[in-house]
């Protein structure tokens, strides 16, 4: 692990720099710390930072950019006719990577000398058998153009690694000696160190933007690829979801969207009344003792991981509903085919959302000024009349915001629907039917063997982007409403 050793070297250099810088500063002041501009430790930090930060930054950028650079160079070397009809450039490239990895392993284990690996010619030796020996499974024997691409890939990676090590070491030692040379009793070390720390803080804060950009870009990129392979009209306006790995699939989001919204609707039907009444009771009626007992207990429901709810839906609620409504059930009807259904997922998701709705509404109801309640009660209204006719209208925008936030949670929820909702994409209004959602399809299209050149896999990114836009829109709207409402009473 050369990268590991490189980082270890940088850390060691930083530690040496700290003591060296500090010592040099103290010596330059003739041992009298009071003559220094800054506290001695700042001179140490100065040298450490100069040795460590630029080098680590270069290392990180290099590691990020290297794959892209090498990929483009190597894939440019593969002639178009070398890509078989049934395959794509992406698949050939993954073969190339695997062969390169196999050669690396073979050299590491001493099965090949580095020279043999560089000069290996396809067909002359049983490369596939060799790869199998080191644990790299190949589909068929190594074709010459793949092998030469793999060798180029190895060469480029090796060169790139060497240059990277050189650049990083140069930056580290350069920074070290530059900072060390500048260290003097009149040097304003504190100001420099503080500016550097501030820059690091800004960098950390910008990571949030970087993540958002990463999410949007990665999905946009693959979505564009998807729309290159599949018509966007079918995706947005088609009526059937039928992925088919022989090609010509119908991939329309509408049935999935219908399932998602239906399940979310049922979840809100459970969560909103229960959560809202719980919040009203806790904030308007409950004594301190009841409040301090019931509120944390309800909030436990919010802290339970969704996998638990998923299992609860799959193994408890689903079979219980099937016992009632399925063939041979207690009600003697046959409305349900299996244990998975919209109702199963919706009910369980509703339970999960109860604390979400109740604690948000609780905050909002508490924000309604007491004077409004007092005014209403003073006019002779009962408590419930006050709640219904004064507090609720005042809190309504906020509560709408809370419900929208809950809806966005419901739409993006994955584990409960993966385990409780089923896998059949259809338009149906029977809540006991098994239906599927956007998130379940993302999971099923992206797990297992995936081929990033087929529309059946890439559709997951289009679905993900739609989901992202949908939840983001709901959140922005909800936060806008909530904020607007808060200002009203501040």
């Amino acid at each position: 692990m050369p990268t590991f050793w490189l980082v270890a070297l940088l850390l060691a250099l930083a530690a040496v720099g700290f003591y060296g810088g500090r010592r040099r500063a103290v010596v330059s002041a003739g041992g009298d710390v009071k003559k220094l501009h800054s506290l001695p430790a700042y001179y140490g930090y100065h040298v450490s930072l100069a040795a460590f930060v630029p080098a680590v930054g270069a290392l990180a950028i290099w590691l990020l950019a290297q794959p892209m650079f090498i990929e483009t160079r190597v894939s440019g070397m593969i002639p178009a006719e070398a890509v078989p009809e049934t395959s794509t450039l992406g698949l050939v490239m993954s073969d190339v990577r695997r062969v390169a990895e196999g050669l690396d392993l073979a050299v590491e284990q001493g099965l090949l000398t580095p020279k043999e690996a560089r000069n290996a010619i396809a067909g002359e030796q049983d490369l596939r058998g060799l790869m199998g020996e080191v644990g790299v499974a190949l589909g068929d024997s190594v074709r010459p153009e793949v092998l030469s691409a793999a060798q180029a890939y190895r060469n480029l990676s090796n060169t790139s690694r060497t240059i990277m090590t050189a650049v990083v070491a140069l930056l580290a030692f350069g920074g070290f000696f530059w900072a060390y040379a500048r260290t003097h009793k009149d040097f304003r070390a504190r100001n420099v160190v503080e500016r550097a720390v501030l820059a690091l803080l800004i960098l950390a804060a910008s990571l949030a933007i970087l993540t958002t950009v990463g999410i949007v870009l990665s999905m946009l990129f693959e979505t564009r690829n998807f729309f290159g392979l599949h018509s966007w009209t079918d995706f947005f306006f088609g009526s059937t979801w039928a992925p088919n790995f022989r090609g010509d699939s119908e991939l329309s989001i509408l049935p999935l969207l219908w399932g998602t919204l239906y399940i979310s609707f049922i979840a809100l039907l459970v969560a909103v009344p229960v959560g809202l009444f719980a919040a009203i009771y806790l904030s308007e009626y409950a004594s301190g003792a009841v409040r301090s007992f019931a509120k944390p207990l309800l909030e436990i429901l919010a802290g339970i991981p969704t996998i638990v709810y998923g299992l609860f839906a799959l193994l408890t609620v689903g079979p219980a509903l099937a016992n009632l409504f399925a063939k041979g059930g207690l009600l003697g009807v046959e409305w349900m085919a299996g244990a998975t259904s919209v109702l199963t997922a919706g009910l369980v998701m509703g339970i999960m959302l109860i604390p979400f709705v109740s604690s948000l509404s609780d905050d909002i109801i508490n924000a309604v000024p007491q004077a409004m309640r007092d005014g209403s009660l003073g006019l002779g209204a009962t408590k419930s009349e006050t709640v219904r006719q004064v507090v609720m209208p005042a809190a309504l925008p906020g509560i709408v915001g809370a419900v929208l936030l809950a809806a966005s949670r419901a739409i993006g929820e994955t584990m409960i629907v993966v385990m409780g909702a089923g896998a059949i994409a259809k338009f149906s209004i029977n809540p006991l039917d098994s239906m599927t959602t956007i998130t379940t399809r993302i999971v099923s299209q992206l797990t297992g063997d995936t081929d990033f050149a087929s529309p059946e896999t890439l559709v997951a990114f289009a679905l993900g982007l739609t989901l992202f836009v949908l939840t983001l829109g709901l959140n922005v709207l909800a936060l806008y409403i909530v904020r607007k409402y808060r200002e009203q009473y501040e």
Binding site: T211, P305, I307, V443, T471
Partner: protein, 454 residues
């Protein structure tokens, strides 16, 4: 008073509309009171409903999961026959290793026959069916023992063997004589044998440490599956999250709370953070798949990748709670530090940050707990669908070798067809919840113990 003065002068006070005494309730008052009581009842009903859901959830988990912590074992005396295990008799370890698990089957059958004879159990079962009540794991267990202790060949050694999943289910009441009618893995005669062996004390249900420390097992051996290895996977992921999310989150919060000027960049960062907190977790999984695996070619199923994805997911939580605790440190502390000549940076790092530390720690623990229970992104980066059978030995292995994580392991078990795995899944949830409860309790204790009110 203006209202009064506007009323027609000299008009006599109106009599009570409905007449009668104030103490006597009019129908309208009764109606209003009833609606008041109804409204209150709705509230109580809602709270009760919520609490009942919690109760049902907890009792289901405990009721169905505790079984996983017990396992049925069969104690057998096994004669390690020399002519089967080491034909040459020279105790050469390479020769002993050549005997496959298949070669151990006759020894196990003989041991079962001996036990049946010893306790005088009458049964019409053939030796193969006798051994059928034991787990398929037994031969491998025996082989491992022999390879580790070749000097024991030829001796008779007492072993505790796992019973098969069906037998275990029968002992726990999950499998009944009715439910096995069409089951080719077990027959009623074998259940009679199980009853007899249980009466003789050979077969018994005891605490199963292997479930907590062991590795996952293949579809055919639910009785041997454990959650230990995936627990390590979760541990390594949490290490990554802690090492990245805490410093980055604290740095970002310090900047936003203490240094950031009011400008568009700061606004943009803040809007981004609050939106990221609400992005569905599966979207982070897509990001991880596209960026870390497809683009950067980090290994699939590696806890490092899981940790990176969970870091991005946890950052907003940590930033939000850290900012709250930085905000709660009163400005007088900063003013005092600045007043005696500290720089702004010194005031923050030497005075504000230590005072905010308990709050930051609490927020971090809660963020970690949230990350520990998260499943959806892990599905996309490939932490399910295989058997995590080897515990990692080094730190690099722990971070880069394929592994599962606790919630992903639970999902994996829930997908399998054998109900014996469902019990494992519920048991796994108990362990997961124990971790979460411990972490949250720790957070609450820290908050109570160190939180300062200014």
């Amino acid at each position: 008073m203006t209202d009064l003065s506007q009323s027609p002068a000299g008009a006599a006070p109106q009599p009570r509309k409905h007449g009668g005494s104030l103490l006597e309730k009019t129908p309208r008052t009764k109606k209003r009171n009833a609606s008041e009581a109804r409204f209150k009842a709705y509230g109580i009903a809602a709270i009760t409903a919520g609490l009942i859901m919690l109760l049902i959830l907890v009792t289901t988990i405990v009721g169905k999961g505790t079984g996983a912590f017990q396992q049925t074992f069969v104690t057998l005396k096994v004669e390690l026959l020399e002519e089967k295990l080491d034909k040459k008799g020279n105790r050469d370890i390479e020769d002993i290793k050549k005997v496959t698990t298949f070669g151990y089957a006759p020894i196990i059958k003989a041991a079962m026959e001996a036990a049946v004879a010893e306790y005088g159990i009458e049964t019409s079962l053939k030796p193969k069916e006798l051994a059928g009540i034991l787990s398929k794991d037994v031969a491998a267990q025996l082989r491992d023992y022999v390879i580790a202790n070749p000097d024991q060949i030829g001796q008779t050694v007492e072993f505790r063997f796992l019973a098969s999943g069906r037998v275990d289910g029968y002992m726990k009441g999950r499998v009944s004589r009715d439910s096995i009618e069409n089951d080719k893995n077990i027959s009623p005669a074998q259940l009679d044998l199980v009853d007899a062996l249980a009466a003789a004390g050979v077969l018994e249900k005891t605490f199963n440490l292997d479930f907590i420390t062991g590795a996952d097992a293949s579809d055919a051996r639910p009785e041997a599956a454990g959650i230990g290895v995936s627990m390590l996977g979760s541990l390594f992921m949490m290490l990554v999250v802690l090492a990245l999310a805490l410093p980055i989150g604290v740095a970002a919060s310090i900047y936003l709370e203490e240094f950031a000027p009011q400008n568009w960049l700061t606004d943009l960062i803040e809007v981004n953070i609050s939106n990221l907190a609400a992005v569905p977790s599966i979207v982070f999984g897509i990001l991880g798949l596209a960026v870390f695996i497809n683009y950067m070619h980090l290994p699939t199923s590696a806890p490092l990748v899981g940790g990176l994805v969970l870091t991005l997911m946890t950052l907003p939580t940590i930033i939000i709670s850290t900012r709250a605790s930085l905000k709660s440190v009163p400005p007088s502390i900063r003013d005092a530090a600045l007043g005696v000549g500290a720089s702004k940076m010194q005031a923050v790092f030497h005075h504000v940050l230590p005072l905010a530390a308990p709050g930051i720690l609490t927020g971090t623990i809660i963020g970690l707990a949230q990350a520990l229970g998260e499943t959806a992104p892990l599905l996309l980066i490939g932490m399910v669908g295989f058997i995590a059978s080897n515990a990692p030995e080094t730190l690099a292995d722990g971070l880069l070798a394929p592994n599962s994580a606790m919630p992903a392991q639970i999902y994996e078990w829930a997908k399998r067809a054998d109900p014996a795995f469902y019990e494992r899944a519920w048991g796994g949830i108990i362990i997961l919840l124990i971790f979460l409860v411990t972490m949250n309790t720790l957070a609450v204790i820290l908050r109570r113990r160190f939180e300062r009110r200014w």
